[in-house]
């Protein structure tokens, strides 16, 4: 009996022990890099989203990055790679818990980070440590790019330097178009599309002529096209509550504008003629899958340059081509959509900015981050092009983040995959400078005083927008309901707050 009880005690002790062991922290094995030589080495944590497979071990690439950065700027980089789904979560967790996180990016949440004081102001450090960075932005985009990330006189981030003009293109299956006896010349604006869809439908009754580019929630890029067509500035967020049409300076509700009514009416016509699937608003099958299976014909996509259809063809295995229908319109949100930022809690601001500078200007660093190690992960073809080593592809090489080309650094310094026309990169840079800019470019709305209303309208927009941009619901009936629900949720407060801030901003610009 006594031994039994002893065994019991022992067993439970073991249980406790194993539990505690599980809680144990992995003692950080930071290498004793510091101290060799007189130069101090800053350790910078750099987190990047990758749309490729995340390799289990990226220490080789981290070492390659450090081989560049330690001698040049005295920065040791702790390179973190996260998938797009959990990137924001991982970064936010690190920021909230006080873990070190110095250089990170965002997909569209710049204003949120800035308004919560999570970002380090860079205006004093950039002239000192970021000269080359400023130069290359000016060369590739034109002057004043950093205005899009400036709030109250502080520069809080650096937009990624790439082809930022995203005109609306119709991406279509070229073989089907040909079989229907048509050519791309017959498509010059959105109004020409119904005739094309009808012809495709006649020839291929099983094919769905048009579908949403993104699903869950469904988005047909109708809003993108309307922005370009009617020159609408969304005033630095994506909700659509509080936009300016043209240059009249009057903030209004996008969903109450004639532009939105016309656009949704057009989509409703398409839907009623059977050009979209019945469940287009709620489907969870992405239209690129539908196209790959040969059942889809076209979608609207925002792509810079002229070569995007090649990558889409490779992805879907169909012969896709694209045709531009609507130009792009630069507003602040379009430019700071992807921006690199430095955390306000960083202990190494100088090192972070030095690293940021290299991230935009050092060809070797940028391409190591994107393509990995030469000879193992990629092979150089010529000055601007690389390919995967023989017998390997993006999913079998030890490391690649090639799908993050639109996320990091300067596109003009990136290698391109073999087969991509280099002149397209030059075209994108040219269009950066030529695309029309909104007169309110540089205005950033600070939502902090209406955040309750912002969260409420976000819900309403999620509820109504997907069904309207796919034509599933009748806009004549639904838009009044939609606008009423938005007003109930406090849309007018947001519009008033935006108008006030915009007026102040305009007054400041005139000075």
């Amino acid at each position: 009996m006594k031994t039994k009880r002893l065994w019991g005690s022992l067993l439970s002790l073991v249980l406790c022990g194993s539990l505690l062991a599980g809680c144990g922290t992995e003692s950080s094995s930071s290498s004793a890099q510091e101290g060799n030589g007189s130069q101090k080495v800053d350790k910078v944590v750099f987190a990047m989203p990758s749309f490729n497979r995340i390799p289990d071990d990226i220490s080789k690439v981290t070492a390659a990055i450090n081989a560049i950065t330690v001698p040049k700027i005295g920065v040791e980089v702790d390179f973190r790679l996260y998938g797009p789904a959990d990137y924001a979560q991982k970064v936010n967790l690190a920021l909230q818990s006080g873990e070190q996180m110095d250089v990170f990016t965002t997909l569209g949440q710049f204003t949120n980070y800035a308004s919560k004081n999570q970002l380090y102001p860079l205006e004093e450090l950039l002239p000192q440590y970021g000269k080359e960075l400023t130069q290359i932005l000016e060369k590739d985009f034109g002057p004043n790019l950093l205005e899009a990330t400036t709030m109250d006189g502080h520069i809080y981030g650096v937009p990624v330097n790439k082809g930022m003009s995203l005109p609306t293109n119709i991406v279509y299956n070229a073989d089907m178009l040909k079989e229907s006896g048509l050519t791309a010349d017959q498509m010059t604006s959105l109004d020409d599309l119904p005739a094309v869809f009808e012809a495709v439908k006649q020839k291929h009754p099983d094919v769905i002529p048009f579908g949403p580019v993104n699903v869950n929630p469904s988005d047909t890029n109708l809003v993108l096209a309307l922005k370009g067509m009617h020159k609408i500035d969304f005033l630095s967020d994506t909700t659509g509550i509080g936009v300016v049409v043209g240059n009249d300076g009057k903030v209004q509700n996008f969903y109450d504008t004639d532009a939105f009514k016309q656009g949704t009416k057009m989509m409703r016509n398409w839907f009623e003629q059977g050009f979209l699937e019945k469940d287009a608003a709620t489907t969870s099958i992405s239209f690129s899958d539908t196209i790959a299976s040969g059942r889809g014909f076209s979608f609207l996509g925002g792509y810079s340059g002229m070569e995007a259809a090649k990558a889409l063809s490779a992805q879907t295995g169909k012969n896709l081509e694209m045709k531009r229908l609507v130009p792009y319109y630069f507003d602040t949100g379009a430019v700071n959509l992807v921006s690199w930022m430095v955390s306000s809690t960083t202990k190494v601001p100088e090192g972070s900015v030095k690293f940021l500078n290299m991230l935009y200007t050092d060809q070797q660093l940028i391409n190591t981050i994107l393509y990995g190690i030469e000879g193992e992960d990629y092979v150089k073809v010529d000055e601007h092009h690389v390919k995967f080593p023989d017998g390997m592809d993006a999913s079998t090489v030890p490391y690649t983040a090639m799908l993050s080309t639109g996320i990091v650094g300067s596109e003009s310094l990136q290698y391109q995959l073999e087969g991509v026309n280099w002149s397209d990169v030059e075209l994108k840079l040219k269009e950066n400078k030529e695309t029309e800019r909104s007169p309110y470019f540089g205005f950033i709305f600070d939502p902090s005083e209406v955040k309750t209303q912002m969260s409420a309208v976000t819900n309403v927009v999620n509820q109504f927008l997907p069904a309207l941009v796919t034509g599933v619901l009748d806009p004549d009936v639904t838009i009044p309901q939609f606008v009423k629900a938005l007003n109930d949720a406090g849309a007018s407060d947001i519009i008033a707050s935006k108008q006030k801030q915009l007026d102040e901003w305009i007054a400041q610009q005139k000075k």
Binding site: Q118, D279, T452, S455
Partner: protein, 305 residues
Amino acid sequence: MKTKSGGLRKTLPLLLLAAPGLLYFLINNYLPMAGIFIAFKDVNYAKGIFGSDWVGFDNFKFLFQTSDAWIMTRNTLLYNLAFIVLGTMLSILIAILMSELLKSLWSKLFQSGLVLPNLISMVVLSYIVFAFLNADSGFINNSILKPLGIPEINWYSEAKYWPYLLVFIQLWKTAGYGSIVYIAFISGIDKSIYEAAKIDGAGKLKQIRMITLPLLKPTIIILTLMSIGRIFNSDFGLFYQVPMNAGALYSTTQTIDTYVYRALMQVNDIGMSAAAGLYQSVVGFILVMAANAIVKKVNPENALF
């Protein structure tokens, strides 16, 4: 002195056995409670959490900002009520049927089969549901409604069907698992009581009504009390994934959890999310206390505490 040390020696193994669980509760459930104050702060990262400004109840406002406040509260409460009532009834029914089967070899197979749905992740389940309900190629529209000549239904844009669908899906998923506790309890009932009843001429139904159910009552009450504590929470997967996040269905699928998720995905404000969590916990706490008080009044032995 002697009795004390003897008592400790007797309970030491039990205490140690409970220690991991207690430790878990302490770390996971009690320590974070100190963070409740975040719900009353306007979190500003430059000032730090402790230095941020107090804003009173401002963070709670977004929960009640729109007419959705009523819809989501109603949905959360009614769905949970339906789950508790129907789920308990169904679980008990299954348990009684299974315990009648207990002698048969098949019962083990059925038992495993009943637990299986509970192991399916909500995301996978949402696609199983999608295979049934898809407008163009779904099983119900294509193989049932079409041959019968009934017009097809666009399930993902008709909110009125979803209360039934969601209750059905939830019961399908959880009833089997929920019955395990009852099966265990029923198999523990003294068989001689049933034999005595049989001799007295009680049929199967009468045995169930007069013996099984009354003896199950304390278990039912405890389990129900525990689910009432979570009546303000909802299974996020069930209400977000299964309806495929379809906007047209919000009027019947929006619950407090999905509303908070949808509202704060964009704003990303930890003060407001803490407020939502606190609100749910406080209401849950009040409901448990109230339910327990009622039980205590009616039947003191069955109360939880």
